[in-house]
């Protein structure tokens, strides 16, 4: 009863505080979700849209927070016990319980036609024990310390609605029945998605009565729409528009760090020069891949004016990061210093390595995945040219770039990596010796390899003791950075623009959620 009164009071206050439109939020995504089936395609934009309608078991935001699960605990080396939230109902009124979780976990690897499924999120789970309607036990083969992080990656659908529902049923809205803070109303694919508040949300009703998500792919266009008042919230503000939005009396910018680090990846596996990507002054390939010499790699790192790069190329949208995960993530080793900008020292190292007159390289980058990638690549090329490593750039769309980098056709590249959980996830993705069948180092494109790192990461992945695991990750990070095969540049920051009626709290996962926006008064 008391709860009802509070809710009613809040609703009344909201009704008095301004015109009805104040409770409507119009926001823009920079990319169109490819599908609104919550389990069809694992991508950031899809997840962001889905999270309004469906809840995950665990919410990964400033650490792991309870979602549909209220607690999780390793009761033995290979068993995690999960307690589910009581009294939660789906939008259709049916209650949420263990059967929904079991149904979801079984659906994840089996969505027909999925171009990229969430199978890896539940891959450690070998068996599910249903203890009671709100208690589950997940049995794993090996100890799995990151399982809670993985449980935060997907959302839960209703087993009653979900049985027999295909992706098309989600697209039409028929199966869009979740437990989330918003109900699904309607959509025009790649154009706009309409949502309405779930009045009986377990976390308390949201301040926005309705939410409309529009897709506006062009950055300047998002800025223009915010300035004209067409939108209340936009994501990915182009850095050169930030001053304008800050100066404007009716708009403001909210920036925050992300989980993504941008780095240089160097071919440290092949002795021979790939194509003619490293050559002498006459354009002939060098006899030996110069990056096999650590001094050359270190020199390239020392030649980069990271602070100026963040300032000029990114318009300030970055933070210095000495690690391959952004500062603050589990496993970030604060003992590793950010490389000092030292072009003179770099020149010396290049000379010591046997290239007193320098040499030339070709550097590859894609233009449409990392924000400001063309500018960043240009800055790198300019910086390296200044220490005698004359750099020419080849850029291309990501669709062309990625297959070629996967086939090791390039040697010196710009890449980035977003961390879903901790430094172990990152190092396993980009630094561990590539082992295709076992899913190790899937994005290790320079084929950096150090057995110590491999061993530490493998051990960390099955160590439940937090302190011991952190120590392993710190050490592995330290070795990786010290080998200079993968050179971190900066951690990306992201900016959201809002109209004055709205305040936005950024989060590292880059997702733009109405739940993170609040009315200003």
């Amino acid at each position: 009863m008391r709860r009802f009164l509070i809710t009613a009071g809040v609703a009344a206050a909201a009704a008095l505080s301004g015109p009805a439109s104040a409770a409507d939020l119009k926001m823009a995504f920079a990319q169109a979700p490819t599908s609104i089936d919550p389990h069809f395609h694992n991508s950031g934009t899809n997840s962001a849209l889905i999270r309004h309608v469906f809840d995950p078991l665990i919410i990964n935001q400033n650490g792991l927070q309870p979602g549909l699960a209220t607690s999780w605990k390793a009761i033995s080396d290979t068993v995690w016990e999960i307690k589910l939230r009581e009294g939660v109902t789906f939008h259709d009124g049916s209650p949420f319980d263990a059967a929904d979780v079991v149904f979801t976990i079984e659906r994840l690897p089996n969505v027909p036609d999925s171009p990229s499924s969430y199978a890896s999120s539940v891959q450690p789970i070998k068996e599910i024990e249903v203890v009671d309607s709100h208690t589950l036990r997940f049995v794993t083969d090996k100890p799995s310390p990151v399982l809670p992080n993985k449980l935060a990656e997907f959302t839960i659908v209703s087993d009653e609605v979900g049985k027999g529902a295909a992706t098309a049923d989600y697209t039409t809205g028929k199966a869009m029945v979740g437990t989330g803070p918003y109900r699904f109303v309607s959509s025009r694919a790649s154009e706009s998605y309409k949502l309405a508040r779930n009045e009986s949300y377990w976390g308390g009703a949201e301040p926005w009565e309705t939410v409309e998500i529009r897709i506006v792919e062009s950055g300047p266009a998002r800025t223009a729409a915010l300035l004209s008042g067409e939108l209340d919230l936009i994501e990915r503000v182009p850095s050169n528009d930030v001053p304008r939005l800050n100066d404007n009396a009716s708009t403001s910018v909210h920036s925050g760090p992300t989980n993504r680090v941008v780095f240089v990846s160097l071919d440290v596996q092949r002795d021979a020069v790939q194509e003619n990507y490293a050559r002498d002054g006459d354009g002939n390939p060098l006899a030996k891949n110069p990056m096999m010499d650590k001094r050359v790699r270190q020199a390239l790192s020392m030649a980069i004016p990271r602070e100026a790069l963040i300032e000029r190329a990114l318009g300030g949208d970055g933070v210095l990061s000495s690690n391959l995960v952004p500062p603050g993530f589990f496993g970030y080793n604060t003992d590793i210093p950010v490389e000092t900008y030292d072009p003179e020292g770099a020149k010396k190292l290049i000379a010591e390595a046997g290239y007193p007159d320098g040499f030339e390289i070709t550097f590859h980058a894609s233009t449409d995945r990392i924000a400001y990638a063309p500018q960043v690549a240009q800055v790198l090329a300019q910086s390296w040219t200044r220490i005698g490593v004359k750099t020419s750039l080849e850029t291309m769309p990501h669709s062309v770039y990625i297959p070629k980098t996967n086939a090791f056709e390039y040697a010196y590249m710009l890449h980035s990596w977003g961390t879903a959980s901790d430094a172990g996830y990152t190092l396993n993705g980009i630094a561990v010796t590539r082992d295709k069948p076992n899913g190790k180092g899937p994005s290790n494109r320079g084929r950096y390899s150090n057995p110590d790192v491999d061993r530490m990461i493998a051990e960390a992945q099955t160590t439940l003791d937090t302190d011991k695991r952190e120590k392993l990750l710190h050490d592995a990070m330290s070795i990786t950075i010290g080998d200079y095969g993968i050179i971190p540049l900066y951690a990306q920051k992201a900016s959201w623009g809002t109209s004055n009626g709205t305040v936005y709290t950024p989060a590292v996962d880059l997702m733009t959620l109405a739940m993170r926006a609040k009315p200003a008064n």
Binding site: S116, S117, A221, E230
Partner: protein, 323 residues
């Protein structure tokens, strides 16, 4: 007559076949759609599974024949990216492009023909000279830059018109139309202007030179000498004869406008099929690319056929020359 239609259809099928073969092979030489869609932490096994699910693990000729077989019965397949039927994806975007093209077409006719007549009647006058100079500039102006300058003036500096998107839409016959809302018109104005630029210039030049030629002809001179009213001479005699080439060109220009909408939609982030094509090229979404191209080929064949038939009706001399 029937023979002409039949021959054109055979031709169209030929073009479509060549197009599908070339794009089927070509799009895959460029890159791998799975690499774009896959999560960056995906293992080789997961990628392989996804490839199988999209039917991309078969040899290319098997994929092609399968695709052709389905296309023959009207199934254009699903988009790689969204897995929705391609036909739905295109149908959803079609109204936007239809509106844009028609608006540009209207602007072209309403501006181009009167200006062309004015320039052709008194070629030596200052007004005519500036109309012709304007048409050369309009003809030379890169349309995308013209669009950007429109944005710069009317959106950035003056703040009168929105620079992106389509605005509010109203649902009619199961499709969403922006021309039924005032907001939609505001959004449509600049893109339509940009798209019509080349066509307006072309029509001005065509009408003007047609007028010049015809006004020199004996029967028009005679009509003038007879003291017929100037307006009547122009309308009845001269213009009727200018009309034939103009109608032909206008017909063909609908096609050009449709193609030009690809550029226009990119500049104004206008959610039509042209933008869809560019997005699909960037995402290597082969089913969408091929379906779009197939539809556009058929569209062009129909347009050309209609233009030829109208031409025959207007100018009996042309009868029997259509192939």
């Amino acid at each position: 007559m029937l023979e002409v239609v039949f021959r054109r259809l055979v031709q169209a099928v030929g073009v479509v076949l060549v197009l599908t073969v070339v794009s089927f092979v070509g799009v895959f030489k460029i890159g791998d759609p799975i690499a774009l869609l896959a999560h960056e932490n995906a293992t080789e096994l997961e990628i392989e599974e996804a490839r199988q699910r999209l039917g991309l693990d078969d040899p290319i000729h098997v994929q092609y024949l399968n695709y052709l077989g389905r296309m023959a019965v009207g199934d254009f397949g699903n988009s790689f990216v969204s897995r929705r039927p391609v036909v739905d994806v295109i149908a959803e975007r079609l109204p936007a492009t239809i509106e844009l093209t028609l608006a540009a077409f209207l602007i072209s006719v309403l501006l181009g023909i009167p200006l062309g007549i004015a320039a052709g009647l008194k070629p030596e006058s200052a007004a005519a000279q500036s109309i012709m100079a304007g048409s050369i500039i309009g003809f030379s102006l890169p349309t995308f830059w013209f669009g950007m300058m429109l944005i710069m003036v009317f959106s950035v500096s003056l703040g009168w018109l929105p620079s992106i998107g389509r605005g509010d839409t109203v649902e009619l016959l199961g499709m969403h139309w922006a021309i039924l809302s005032a907001d939609g018109w505001k959004h449509l104005l600049m893109p339509a202007l940009m798209l019509s630029l080349t066509t307006v210039s072309l029509i001005i030049r065509l009408v003007a030179s047609g007028m010049r030629e015809i006004l020199l002809m004996e029967y028009v001179k005679f009509a003038r000498l007879k003291g017929l009213h100037e307006f009547r001479v122009v309308m009845l005699h001269a213009f009727k004869n200018v009309l034939i080439p103009v109608v032909t060109v206008l017909g063909l220009e609908i096609g050009s406008l449709l193609a030009g909408s690809i550029v226009t939609e990119t500049v104004f982030a206008y959610p039509g099929v042209g933008k869809l094509l560019i997005d699909s090229i960037n995402r290597l979404d082969r089913p969408v690319i091929i379906t779009y191209l197939t539809l556009i080929v058929l569209f062009f064949v129909v347009i050309n056929l209609i233009v030829d038939l109208i031409y025959t009706l207007l100018d009996p001399r042309a009868r029997g020359t259509i192939r």
